[in-house]
Amino acid sequence: MRFRCLVDVYLKEGLLDPQGKAIEGALPAMGWSNVSDVRVGKNVTMEVEAPDRDTALTQVHEMAQRLLSNPVIEVFSVRSIEANEGVRFRDLR
């Protein structure tokens, strides 16, 4: 089966996120003065071929741990894993 997987990666809480800070600094100039704690993360999306959903999840978890994130500074979460028997993501572009 083919699974569409979404992984989010963020800097750990407590680490200053310089990009988030820059965005936070720019928003009041546009009139939004009610914004705080902006964090910028990464979103990785991929197709994984696996016999079942659990196997795909285990594999994506390991990918996220070993490559997609750096555990020293980042945390990740696997946002979704959905069976994708239909159109491939790349075909939509």
Partner: protein, 235 residues
Amino acid sequence: MTIVPRIGVVIFPGSLDDRDALRAVRAMGGEGVPLWHAERDLAGVDAVILPGGFSYGDYLRTGAIARFAPIMDQVRAFADRGGPVVGICNGFQILCEAGLLPGALIRNRQLRFVCRWVDVRVETTLSPLTAGLVPGEVLRVPVKHGEGQFVVSREELERIDGEGLVVFRYCAPDGSLDEAANPNGSADAIAGVRNGAGNVVGLMPHPEHAVDPDVGATGGQPMFESLLSSALARV
């Protein structure tokens, strides 16, 4: 017959400072040996330098892809045997990603690329770059990076400091710590760290750009002298 230490410089796709590193090794009396990232052999060198640059375009995270290059298995094995390994700038980022050094390097606090001379204070002599130096000694070398802010958790920072793993700190010319001298917002003004065994060291500043008096300060000379003697100790 004089024994000349052979210093390997790994070239990744996107490395920039490999030639300056090789040139600095030669200028200081060593033999520079270029090592291609796709090789699985260190050609019998006595020390390894991972040079600066933007390996793999800094994609994902700086150093994140380069750490999986074929030659890195050999670099890790060499480090495990006690071989001197030096990571400069992108090389430092690669060593952190590979888990050979503590901490990580993220975007500079002020969000700007920084390119200027800095002064760094030697904090320990237990590293291949500082073996012949004196703690407290101040060396002038350049930095040029967008992602050089050294970060670790609070507990890890205490451990690194407590175990004497900090090798260099950004400082004022007189050696005093001054936040204005910290070019990227690094935790505790840390410019370079070593591993527990003391044979792997990484730093953001570029000693290889500071060995020729014709182009500026020469704070890199004593670091390369130290590296050559650390390498010789293994010949």
